[in-house]
Subunit: 272 residues, 3 copies
């Protein structure tokens, strides 16, 4: 394949490590630990603050120092959902880029509604697995709980359709990752199947995409680059892993030690 | 000792890896990460969804695809407790097998009440440490917070009494594990003391027992097998562990890599 | 430097491992797992119980068996805050020593208020990073979200001032750690910068300080010793770490295996 040489993933990595951008996360109970640790490993500064009582203050900090926001619906109830909606609205008022992770969309009416309501607030990027993206697009989902049972390829039409109608970026993760703004589509290769045996690796990627949105790169390119960097790290981490727990540990260590040169050499992004 | 050769633990492991059954967990804030990762390592598909707003939908999915439910009272307040009770009732309506983990029963009146109310809804399996099971049975507990200060042997009479009166399966974990339906009692050997130095290993086992309940084996046998499989994995994981954190990582990797043949060879279950 | 030889850190470690004291934690969603695991590794018995419904019972247990309490505001909303205030009041009634961790003080008005209200209830020890301590003292903070952007040296005046006015112990962690009762100041050396790339290592230290408060040592000395023990463990753990995830694992294993003799030999505490 003809992998792109001009997306400058090494430059993005360097920018994040230098600027340590604030990424404010409304994450879920399961993913908070791994997400915060991955953001730290990448070089970002995570804030895990979900309370309505401080939404305005964190929004103002984010605006002042060019941070990003991520919202993950994974363990929402009505209280959390209402916080998230208010926070997303304030992010929009403050022009803060944000990523929506619609965990388990398709598994319950409540998740579907949460995903749709947040989507209507125009996240900068929507990132999900194939089942979630298909479900959001209105096509019948085959999700089972929160794990995807569709391939990312199946979901590409759904992603393009959402990207066009909502005028946002949509990223699908799976065997091959895709990211599109409705017009261009990037495919990102790499990663490994054992990643699906670690909980919340998708949620963590959502947060890393948030870090990318704080950079000088355009949002479509930075999202493709973050997905590519993650895949490079996964492939390297797998070499010395014996199972999902050691892979999780190796992955974080690898992200921490990753050099721009390594990323530039191994990243596999294609314009399709 | 004359270990049983006819409980087919290897077959159970294979069935779980093949079917990737859904295990829906109302777990606690501390155990969510390790529980989800252990379920994935075993081959199951965890869903960590506790919201009242989606209880009916997840219950219907569980019913449709023969999943199981686990309820862990470890970090309940009234809101979580009320969700759990409604969810348990729906599980019963849908004939979904479920496991109750009465974390810290005996430590507070609130926990005692939660444990008793949920117990009255007839979980398929009740799984606790010795202090918790003794406390639930009405005998004076010597628990200190959430760690057990009684041995599993002390709790055997309590377990049998609960199993008989409630007509459920009761599993006690400790130096030796026991599981009984009030008539038969299986003892499960193995494991290691360092496991008590990792938080939420009991909670995670509860979730794995949930995976066992989705299988074709009868619930008493599958619970004994899961406890035995866990002990086999613990013993193997200990060999290359330097302390509780590496043991946790090794344990997950070991469960992921465990073969039916290894399990059949090393499991130590006895009918007493 | 003339490191102190008379703070008996080895004796403290031995006392904790022998007594396995109860440490009751109102921690945050991100730190629960690592905090519980570190307490277990040190030899303490963690209870992660935050519900208002059982505050009185846990307070009574803590009193009866000489446990300690820690309160961490990291993921508070109004509900959690109100629980914490009630719990702190009950701890005071029962003479239970407690540690306050004002995570992210300075980042939002809500956090500032929570920190101040809890501080007014006179924790035994206040433990924060430089930004947090400076913010609480009323000096303008330069915190960015929850990570410190000030050095612990900057915060020393702030710490002394709070310790004097509130008549409590104040501990600052950073490149050098300090702990003071407003009159004596101990400096604690060691640790390593990679620790700042693991989420919740400060929160976990707060819980370990709680374990120290249950000992026979006076609270100022035990706090300095716990900080010194943590630094010794960090330095040792770093040797075989490849990044923040392996450091986290090594750190827990190292704390578990640490001997009194090792601690006595390597701890670096100075009276300044």
């Amino acid at each position: 394949m003809n992998y792109l040489k001009d997306t400058n993933p090494g430059k993005l990595l360097e920018e994040i490590k230098t600027k340590t951008p604030l990424v404010w996360n409304i994450s879920n109970f399961v993913s908070m630990d791994i997400a915060a640790n991955m953001l730290l490993a990448l070089g970002a500064s995570p804030a895990m603050a979900h309370a309505l009582e401080e939404a305005e203050d964190f929004s103002n900090i984010c605006k002042a120092i060019n941070g990003a926001l991520t919202i993950n619906i994974g363990t929402f109830d009505n209280h959390w959902k209402n916080c998230a909606i208010k926070i997303a609205k304030q992010a929009n008022l403050n022009n803060i880029p944000w990523v929506l992770d619609p965990v388990g969309a398709g598994a319950s009416k409540f998740r579907n509604e949460n995903a749709k309501q947040l989507l209507s607030l125009k996240p900068t990027v929507l990132r999900g697995n194939a089942s979630e993206i298909i479900s959001i697009s209105g096509i019948k989902s085959s999700g089972k709980g929160v794990d995807s049972t569709s391939t990312s390829n199946d979901a590409l039409d759904a992603a393009t359709s959402i990207a066009k109608s909502e005028k946002i970026i949509v990223a699908i993760t799976g065997e091959v990752d895709y990211v599109t703004d409705g017009s261009k589509i990037y495919a990102v290769y790499g990663g490994n199947e054992m990643m699906t045996k670690i909980t919340a690796t998708g949620c963590a990627l959502t947060c890393l995409i948030g870090a990318g949105l704080t950079s000088e790169q355009n949002n479509l390119i930075s999202t493709a680059n973050i997905m590519g960097i993650y895949s490079v790290a996964c492939e390297k981490a797998l070499i010395s892993s014996k199972g999902p727990a050691s892979l999780r540990s190796e992955l974080i260590d690898t992200i921490y030690n990753l050099t721009p040169a390594e990323v530039e050499k191994n990243i596999k992004i294609e314009l399709i």
